[in-house]
């Protein structure tokens, strides 16, 4: 990823900012100009709750370049309460604790570092609902 690309997508990465289609009222993430559901123009920014459930998941042993220090790590497709699916890492959870359907919430975490001198890349991840776990 390039530095301008990280900057352009900072709101989506840091806070899961999506869109709501003004025509069909569906939530869209990641944002795009044409609503994938009804085909109408969709440009109204809308925040998402960050709550959802695990649709599927995997424990990655062979990491792509830049992610080796974190392996093995969990990745998932999460179904957000508002409807969209989103692909992200899971954090604060052990592989044996994850299951399909598990409620999760968005947190902003470090995704990787571009070496000791480069950019630190932050972005959304998901973890088990804190309240459900501890209160």
């Amino acid at each position: 990823m390039t530095i301008p690309s990280y900057w352009r997508t900072r709101r989506q990465r840091l806070s899961l900012e999506g869109e709501i289609c003004p025509h069909c009222r569906r939530h869209v993430f990641p944002p795009r100009d044409i609503c994938p559901y009804c085909g109408g123009p969709a440009k109204a920014a809308a925040s998402l709750s960050g709550r959802g459930t695990v649709y599927s998941f995997s424990l990655v042993h062979n990491a792509p370049a830049g992610f080796e220090p974190y392996a093995p790590y969990l990745v998932a497709i999460v179904k957000l309460d508002e409807g969209p699916l989103v692909t992200a890492q899971l954090t604060d959870v052990s592989p044996d604790e994850v299951s399909i359907g598990m409620p999760v919430e968005m947190v902003t975490r470090k995704l990787r570092e571009e070496g000791e001198e480069g950019l630190i890349v932050y972005g959304y991840k998901f973890r088990p609902l804190l309240q459900a776990e501890a209160l």
């Binding site: 995997s58 497709i77 890492q89």
Partner: protein, 385 residues
């Protein structure tokens, strides 16, 4: 539109070709296909390739391979559709000949994968996924397929071991294909115990990547008849797209592009799945075999694995797949794979598949999948008497 035939074919073995570069591999396949066809002067070369820019720092493959294959001067270009680049190159050559603008076209799929480190190759392959919202999250291409597999197991009640037959069948067939990369049979137990790459996908769910090139010479039907020998007609060439990102699909287990490209191919050929004698599908992962069988109409939703468990995918089965080893065991030189599939299907129709020959086959289907089902190219080949 005019009918198009396969006039010639060529391939290099798939493997770790430490002594051969990208251009050597491509040129060998092209020269060998032209020799097979008995043709010296094609007008068009279409190269299918995905990774030359990222792994070999080489683009402009059309001109490069034309030059190294002794074809300097002809029209040439590269097409890219991730892992479906090979079949897409064949389709572009097909369109040129079918449309009448070109009489003889060569389609060559080539990939050189062993010059990069394992991490570099994993990263380059991840470019088939959505860079901003999949790859940037640390999601490898294997991980995307792993999540499909886990969801599939969850929805349809399968265990990981139930996928073993896809890999066992592929290795059994590869053992008898001199061009295959993994020429040794494996057991269901080895499958069960294989090392995990991204759970639940292990090394033995995944196609091994390797270097390789394959090529086809296409021309009009009347020329094929004049040249003599078995005439292989391209009865259908069709492709379709879906979202690149899995998360943008309403039901990730129903790969729309697999269904659409198969339906378009059946309509063009005027046949249905019941007429197909063998199916070279895109078994980059065992889960893709299941989804491909389902999307192309050979099994109902959730029934692809059942078909394998019932022994229907072997050479004697209802729908033989991966008859020369498939991506799994012939090896998966990514952008070349789609051309290998068609070369192998053509060999079956010519009766030149050796120990893996399927008797009396007339109709063969191939399906090449780019990304996690984002770009799918389906061909149906017919042997004319």
């Amino acid at each position: 539109m005019r009918d198009v035939a396969i006039l010639g074919l060529g391939q290099t073995p798939v493997g770790e070709h430490w002594d051969l570069s990208l251009r050597d591999l491509g040129a060998q396949a092209i020269v060998s296909a032209l020799k097979d066809a008995g043709i010296e002067a094609p007008q068009l070369l279409v190269v299918g390739n995905m990774l030359s820019g990222s792994l070999s720092h080489q683009e402009n493959l059309g001109a490069l391979l034309a030059d190294y294959a002794g074809l300097r001067g002809i029209e040439a270009l590269k097409v890219e559709a991730a892992c479906a680049s090979g079949a897409m190159a064949v389709r572009m050559a097909y369109l040129a000949v079918a449309g009448g603008m070109v009489d003889i076209a060569v389609a060559c799929g080539v990939e050189k994968m062993t010059d990069g480190s394992s991490e570099e190759t994993t990263t380059a392959l991840a470019a088939a996924a959505d860079d901003l919202f999949e790859s940037d999250q640390g999601i490898s291409f294997v991980a995307l397929n792993a999540m499909l597999m886990r969801r599939y197991m969850h929805e349809f009640g399968y265990r990981r071991e139930d996928f073993a037959e896809f890999a066992v069948n592929a290795h059994r067939n590869a053992a008898r294909n001199p061009n295959a990369m993994f020429r040794r049979p494996i057991t269901p137990q080895a499958f069960a115990e294989a090392k995990m790459i991204a759970t639940p996908i292990s090394l033995l769910d995944s196609a091994g990547i390797g270097d390789g090139a394959a090529a086809l010479v296409l021309g009009p039907m009347d020329l094929a008849r004049r040249l003599g020998g078995a005439v292989i007609r391209i009865a259908a060439s069709a492709s379709a797209t879906d979202s690149v990102a899995l998360h943008d699909r309403r039901d990730p287990l129903e790969v729309r592009a697999i269904y659409l490209s198969a339906q378009r191919a059946y309509a063009q050929a005027g046949v249905g799945p019941q007429d197909i004698d063998l199916f070279e599908l895109h078994d980059a992962f065992t889960i893709m075999s299941a989804l491909s069988l389902e999307g192309a109409g050979f099994a109902p939703r959730g029934g692809g694995v059942r078909l394998a468990l019932e022994g229907e995918i072997g050479l004697e089965g209802r729908i033989p797949i991966s008859t020369m080893g498939g991506l799994k065991a012939r090896g998966h030189p990514v952008g070349a794979t789609g051309v290998y599939q068609i070369v192998e299907a053509a060999l079956q129709l010519r009766g030149q598949a050796g120990e893996n020959q399927i008797p009396n086959c007339r109709l063969a289907m191939t399906q090449n999948i780019g990304g996690s089902g984002a770009n799918v190219v389906t061909h149906i080949l017919e042997r004319l008497a």
